[in-house]
Symmetry: C2
Subunit: 199 residues, 2 copies
DNA sequence: CAACAAACGGACCGGGCGGTCAACTTGCTA
DNA sequence: TAGCAAGTTGACCGCCCGGTCCGTTTGTTG
């Protein structure tokens, strides 16, 4: 491929400043945070933003990619944990906490994300599947749920809580616990619809 | 209060056309559907929109109000159902189906909704509480969940599924079932956080 | 230290948005 | 059916947004 020449020192620094500022700004003001505001927050000219990220969508994609990678790393470590059930719960906790600290939910489904993101998502999904398989074999979760179920439910605790205007900071743990109880084998009722396929 | 003179026939008709068109448009294009497009879809001039709803936010509020009322009516009927557990599940199903047919999730939290909405929300919340109390007394749900828990979890099945780009139409039922299993007494683990108060 | 490419900044552009207004049309009522 | 208030309309306004461009600054390299 193209051997990308290393960025100049100031350019590399500005890139990081921009990513951080953009994440904060999106978290505070939602998806229509303006590029100009992001630039100002990073202490940088607007043109600089577009030099690093040709499009606002490219900027969003960079942030999302970063988030997905974090989850992938966390999940991969948990694959070797002693208790597979606890590991799955821990993964869900990490995912929720990440989303809690900086809610960027809206940009996930920002249509037509790049192929790079699709790929990163794929590897993360595969790791989640492995986590679930281990937990299932261990009898920690019911037989009829799959990795995709976890992917789908992953951010539910936070999303659900964020409807409340003034929720206590750890309330999401309550709903994670309820949902996780629904994933356990004890007292499980048959599910009315087959799981979605790996995309 | 002000005895509101009845609308002229054409005005009343246009008001309904507008509400319908706006709901469709918001469902399709998200919160930034433009007033101009809504007007066009309703076959009406842009000025007419603003005559009926002084602000785009007022239009949104009117739609949300309608949604809440529908739920309130459904919930009130279910209060007299024979099986309280089934009634609660049915309420959740109705809520999810409503959201499925026309996803307006984003406008729920549209900040600072009018006092009218706050009030309508209040009555709906109280009915949900009653539904849950009945179900709990009947042993259909675990002792440690409250009406607010149901309010919080109400739309989770749809919200969660809507992350998937091409989800089968009834997939949400799967997640409603999982979550409902988490609400049952059988195999319940203690919850790590107290429930949120009635707002 | 000289010289050049890389990076920067911010004025600028076209477009679409929410919202206004004054001229026009239409349903109601006496 | 005449008259008038209620209702409609679309051109118009100001604003802000994503994105461009070019003159200027700055890090790097020999």
């Amino acid at each position: 491929m193209t051997p990308p020449r290393p960025l100049r020192a100031d350019a590399a620094r500005n890139r990081q400043l921009l990513l951080a500022a953009a994440a904060d700004e999106f978290a505070e003001r939602g998806p229509e945070a303006s590029v100009a505001d992001i630039a100002r927050r990073a202490g940088v000219g607007k043109g600089t933003v577009f030099r690093h990220f040709p499009t606002k969508d490219d900027l969003i994609a960079a942030i999302v990619l970063d988030r997905i990678s974090t989850l992938t790393v966390a999940g991969r470590e948990l694959l070797t944990a002693a208790d597979p059930g606890a590991a799955l719960l821990e993964f869900l906790t990490v995912a929720a906490r990440q989303r809690d600290q900086l809610d960027l939910s809206f940009l996930q489904q920002a249509g037509g994300l790049g192929a790079e993101i699709t790929q990163a998502q794929g590897t993360m999904f595969r790791i989640v599947h492995a986590l679930v398989d281990r937990a299932r074999e261990h009898g920690a979760v019911r037989a009829d749920i799959t990795g995709m179920d976890i992917v789908v439910l992953m951010c539910a605790p936070i999303d659900v809580v964020s409807q409340l205007p003034d929720a206590p900071p750890d309330l999401w743990q309550r709903y994670l616990a309820i949902i996780f109880d629904g994933l356990r084998p004890a007292g499980a009722h048959p599910l009315p619809h087959p799981p979605p396929p790996l995309p």
